[in-house]
Symmetry: C2
């Protein structure tokens, strides 16, 4: 049995472990607390060397206590590919891309839901629901069905039809919501008690941040237990940034890595850029944003559940945030394509961000930079919808369908 | 520099290594010959333990001599997932699925083209062409563009539009052919000399079989240096079966694994089943096949380039071949979906084959069985074509486009 607790990322309060309701009374987000001093005696770099290449190799730093409850579909230990041709063309030292699309559900969301669903299994939960721009819904659907847990997923209706379609394939009750991701979240909150759902939305439970944390752990191990100088990451709800930041603090506490933390760069699409706006001084912020209609990608999260936490991480790390235009993102998809990489709009935005930060001199000649490609290009094809998924606006509409 | 040669899989003739034209004068297929006795001194199980989880960990058993020519996008070391729930329901001992869709191009084809394109790079070739039902075209396109080699790909026009569309994304000259895969191959043969293409079609060059071989190497290593009892594999041109068979002979020669070879089961779709027909006694064969119209999948190869070699492997291994119906394959996609696995029709056919071999008693209660999921379900969505790829019937049509 692991000795787990929770701590508040805002007020530092300590609480006993629980698998849902991650809001502290101060309004901050609760994160999982490990006894790192005790762990450091047996959890060593040497012990890792011969472990199987899965994100569960970091088992000691993951919150599932009963190994029989681990729900795995082959997630994590995705390749880190070096783009040497471009290192010669750009004013940086090293360039890497982390191929998160090679996860079991075709996106980085597999990681968080492997842990979240394992925790549900351990807790004996039988029903879970998530609001999602698509890939989180597919990941919950896949892991929940593997675990024998009923999943209900709520997706804005303009999201990519192929990603939507995967959810009923995995056996989830799937609904298209006439609204954005927070409208989908509101439906779940409205029905949570009546339906018996555990809400596994961003920062609502501890597993997704812990699962995303493994991206940071892997990256450090794949780079020979060093940190890159800069991580460019497509940011929506922010659990990836929070998770990787947490990973690096834990690795430092364990004595695995020395030296400065990476600078975190959040990329978003113009028109839905709360993190970019949040980094600006107040006067500038009032003028920014809102001009263009953002695309239905994982970056389109107008109201991240803990914006202050994301902003504090980006600022503390010496990072920055950038909003890219649709056409910059589309150009990036083509550029990555001709390097043999099929990148989602989110992954492409990291490339577009890289180019902009090279052009404006923010990146340094000594920087090693890591991009995250979070899904495949083809899953985003905007084709006529092929799915007969019901469309709803409210929890009342949901009920009217007979649930 | 590696001491490589070639040997004929039919007449056993030995030849110097070359990177194209794999047909022996006897009509057999030439395969790569390694000095296994010399290798066994340094290539050990222990040496592998701390190597990076990529298919290139088996570098000594791959034919690329110059490490600077290796074209890698993060291929291989895909997860092997155990399906324990189904072990309880089916009359077998162990059930595993190898998740080949988690390769960089979303299919098992990444492996073969990583090696084939590396060999092209090493040889200084600048243009390559392939006939393909889709996934091989995408893989050539991706690896060639990463290597700075020009790819031309020829795909039957009813193949899945999303897979087709990936090829121009990767920068390949892409053509839809009014015909089947051998018609596409004929166009390449007709234009090969004039266009300067290396034909990297199935068994035309040594890299693809060697790359596919790594599926067998990995499987043995992932199972603790043992062989499974049965491998169920979706078979079109047969390079995967040939590659895995070769892998297991090499592992036995190296002393890595003892015991009997796995029984190889080839699955195909009804209506295009040359391997299934080839396994029948002649009288039965004349009556078989041709009744239904086969789907445009990787299994639709009416004329495998070396059918006798595939048949001899299946027979020697004590295996079998099965043709599944469209509806059996569609049912299997749903069954795998509700286990959290998005499977291509080819991957689904392995599940359908499993069920049939359980029902008819061919599988034994002591058998450990491995299925191969070769690609994602969603890439096969039969939507209105979104690509403006030119359609051709002949090399003359190709020329008329101005090439």
């Amino acid at each position: 049995m692991k000795q787990l607790g929770l701590y508040c990322s805002r007020c530092s309060a300590k609480l006993p472990f629980r698998y849902q309701d991650m809001k502290c009374s101060c309004g901050g987000t609760l994160l999982v607390d490990y006894d790192l001093e005790r762990l450091s005696k047996t959890f060593t770099k040497e012990a890792l060397q011969t472990r199987y290449p899965s994100m569960w190799r970091y088992n000691e730093l993951l919150p599932v206590s009963n190994p029989d409850c681990i729900i795995t579909l082959g997630e994590g230990w995705t390749p880190l590919v070096r783009l040497q041709n471009w290192e010669l063309k750009l004013p940086i030292k090293q360039l890497w891309i982390k191929r998160e699309e090679q996860n079991p559900t075709g996106s980085f969301k597999s990681r968080g839901f492997s842990v979240a669903v394992s925790l549900l299994k351990e807790a004996g939960a039988t029903k879970a629901a998530v609001p999602s721009n698509g890939n989180a819904a597919g990941a919950l659907a896949a892991y929940a069905s593997h675990a024998g847990i009923k999943a209900s997923v709520f997706i804005p209706l303009d999201c990519p039809p192929l990603i939507v379609e995967e959810c009923p394939l995995y056996g989830a009750d799937t609904f298209l919501v006439d609204g954005l991701i927070h409208d989908a979240a509101a439906i779940i909150e409205a029905g949570k008690q009546e339906q018996g759902w555990v809400n596994v939305g961003t920062l609502k439970e501890p597993g997704r941040v812990e699962g995303k944390k493994t991206m940071g752990l892997e990256l450090a191990e794949q780079l020979g237990w060093t940190f890159p100088d800069v991580i460019i990451y497509p940011t929506g709800g922010g659990s990836g940034i929070i998770g990787m930041w947490k990973a690096y603090h834990e690795l430092k506490a364990l004595g695995f890595v020395d030296g400065p933390m990476p600078r975190f760069v959040c990329v978003q699409e113009e028109g839905c850029q709360p993190i970019v706006d949040g980094m600006l001084p107040q006067a500038a912020m009032d003028l920014a944003g809102g001009a263009s209609r953002p695309s239905p990608t994982g970056m389109r999260v107008p109201q991240p559940p803990d914006l202050p936490l994301i902003l504090s991480i980006v600022k503390q790390s010496g990072g920055t945030a950038l909003a890219l235009s649709k056409s910059q993102i589309a150009d990036a998809t083509r550029t990555l394509g001709t390097q043999g990489i099929s990148s989602s709009p989110e992954g492409s935005a990291t490339w577009a961000g890289l180019i902009e930060l090279c052009d404006n001199g923010w990146l340094r000649a000594t920087d090693s930079v890591v991009l995250f490609n979070t899904s495949h290009a083809m899953k985003y094809a905007q084709l006529e919808s092929i799915c007969s998924v019901p469309r709803i606006r409210s929890y009342a509409d949901y009920k009217a369908l007979g649930y």
